[in-house]
């Protein structure tokens, strides 16, 4: 009789429990799927939680239109292979509706995703959105609940969060309100990679070392793409890089790395001295409370 449950098994069981609670208590959930590693793990867990039943809810992607081609290809291949329904909310549609200002094709759209996301929630009447956010990522996220309540404006009020005890989640809400649900709350970056290795979860190729044209900007390596061209005076160089997080091209930077396999990535992650978001997220650097402010507006 083997009675020890490993820490990864405990986290997996916790995440599955959370996913099943949502399916048991809410009516119209959806799973936020960006093609990034955390959402790939989340989708994998959702399928496991309900197997052999098919996923009874769609996945939702908020598309800024400025994503890496490899990630969009991965997204489409994944939903095709798994037979999952994909709902796309496009920031461009919000611009056309004039709910998001038109700042030109090349202006960063990362922050505007909140508007498009809330519009998609309203249009599809979603009452719970699974997200892959983890508490170890960022200090505002360290205060998040598993079941995080959003008012009818989609706002997060960090000072009035419901206390969350044991694993008893309060899913009560008024019409028009919704929950963001974070089954991976207690996972760390390293846990995610170990799980990806154990479960052989597929990822977009840009997570692995590859050669690409980059410029160095604020001591980060920014890929030279259509939406992020080199600025005047910046030197474009070829470098071997990979991505630790995947947002769209305007908000994510690469790290210098030759890690080509999951095990090499795990080894690198275990010894890294810079946090995942610190190394790669252009969008967190505006101020100390950048994430908190975006979250209050309805961000992921």
């Amino acid at each position: 009789m083997h009675l020890e449950v490993s820490h990864l098994e405990t986290l997996e069981a916790e995440a599955i429990h959370v996913i099943r609670e949502v399916v048991g208590e809410l009516e119209r959930p959806a799973l936020l799927f960006s093609g990034g590693k955390d959402s790939a793990v989340l989708l994998h867990l959702a399928l496991k939680a309900l197997q052999p039943q098919k996923l009874p809810f769609p996945v939702l992607h908020i598309d800024t239109g400025q994503n890496f081609d490899e990630v969009i290809a991965f997204r489409d291949a994944t939903v095709g292979k798994l037979g999952v329904r994909l709902v796309i909310g496009r920031v461009q549609d919000s611009i056309d509706r004039k709910t998001v200002p038109d700042e030109g094709e090349f202006a960063p759209r990362n922050r505007h995703q909140s508007v498009t996301l809330l519009e998609a929630i309203e249009e599809n009447k979603f009452d719970a959105l699974f997200g892959g956010a983890r508490r170890d990522e960022e200090k505002a996220r360290a205060k998040e609940r598993f079941f995080s309540h959003r008012d009818s404006f989609g706002q997060w009020d960090p000072r009035r969060q419901r206390p969350e005890l044991w694993h008893l989640f309060n899913s009560k809400k008024s019409p028009g309100e919704h929950f963001r649900v974070f089954p991976l709350s207690n996972w760390t970056e390293l846990d995610i990679w170990k799980y990806i290795e154990q479960e052989e979860i597929a990822l977009p190729p840009i997570y692995f070392a590859h050669e690409r044209e980059v410029v160095e900007r604020n001591s980060m390596l920014v890929a030279v793409t259509k939406y992020t061209p080199a600025k005047q005076g910046e030197e474009v160089k070829k470098a071997v890089v990979r991505y630790r997080t995947v947002g769209d091209t305007t908000c994510t930077a690469a790290v210098s790395s030759s890690a080509n396999s999951i095990s090499e990535i795990i080894a690198e992650t275990a010894t890294s001295r810079i946090s995942e978001r610190g190394a790669t997220r252009v969008d967190d650097k505006f101020s100390e409370a950048a994430m908190e402010d975006r979250k209050k507006e309805g961000y992921f």
Binding site: E9, Q53, R159, L165, L168, I274
Partner: protein, 419 residues
Amino acid sequence: MELLRLATAGSVDDGKSTLIGRLLYDSKSIFEDQLEAIERTSEARGDQYVNLALLTDGLRAEREQGITIDVAYRYFATPRRTFIIADTPGHIQHTRNMVTGASTADLVLIIVDARHGVVEQTRRHALLASLLRIPHLVLCVNKMDLVDFEEKVFNEIKSDFRDYAARLEIPDLTVIPISALNGDNVVDRSKDMSWYEGSPLLRHLEEVHIASDRNLIDVRFPIQLVIRPISDDHHRDYRGYAGQVAGGVIDVGDEVIVLPSGFKTRITGIDGPNGPIEQAIPPQSVVIRLEDDLDISRGDMICRPHNRPHSGQDLSAMLCWLAEDGLQVGKKYSLKHTTRQARAMVTSLQYRLDVNTSHRDREAETLSLNEIGRVDLRCTVPLFYDEYRRNRTTGSFILVDEATNVTVAAGMALLPPNP
């Protein structure tokens, strides 16, 4: 590798944040960019030292006011174990936050200042730890450097605390003399306290035996979902019951009953996340298949025929009040227990417990924010529950205000009331 969930209690003045910072820093769980960020902020605020509290105080209001508002979660790992720290603020909303952070904890760290010893707050934290049945308590006597590493000071505090703890239910108590600022007995053994023969804190956290804390005796399986892939040709006949094992060791072939129907049947299969398994234990999330096609739904419970939980619409419980609007005896609240929903009202408040003195006020008429009391409740449907001290999963429940949808109370079931 096992996961240990620990909660910390104490105020900033006791050096709690410094201790957490030390654990994170010495286990290399603070990243350079995070450290640089708090160094910058500490300097800007005019702090004399790198304020490690800034690592956990993530919200704007917390930084501006220099206080911790809410429970923050931190993560670290050593080669032996992984750890989740629920860091609970000492002053603001103390009871509510500690109860929240400690509800899932395997171990609680209570920190005292060696110069002040056991104070009112220490006793309050110990009482709450006991009430929440956290199996392991570690009292860290901090700032030993400020009392010249005197063994006598440590022994007095230790015996003071033991005297108090003897009146509580604390199955495992360890007392460690430390200096968080210098790192004495945190990760490495202190050179200045050779008289201390126990383990340094981190070693203790790595080695404390937690596998037996689970209840592996009473089989309890609250059903979350019925898995029935009717639209799928391959699995047309599949019918399984999904849930997380809340107690006991469940084997394929076991004879079980399903509550509330009371039907007897047998387990024909258990499906884990990676396919069929022979046995399931807490806290695994699995799907159970049964021999007979029964009418079973979310909120029902599977257990063994000769080991059933208490069942009834009336229960007694300790209630910790978490909301600004106080308890109203006779008002209807929404109740969630395991996967079961009910409506409930408190029929009587037996007493209010003073968490500082343990005094029971039998004249009390309400419970306000942060107050704890013993109540009797009546529910619209029967609950299948255990005494909280026997099973923290099947013995706990929450109350939700039906108008505001806010979680207003945490409940811990006692033995059923006398009929």
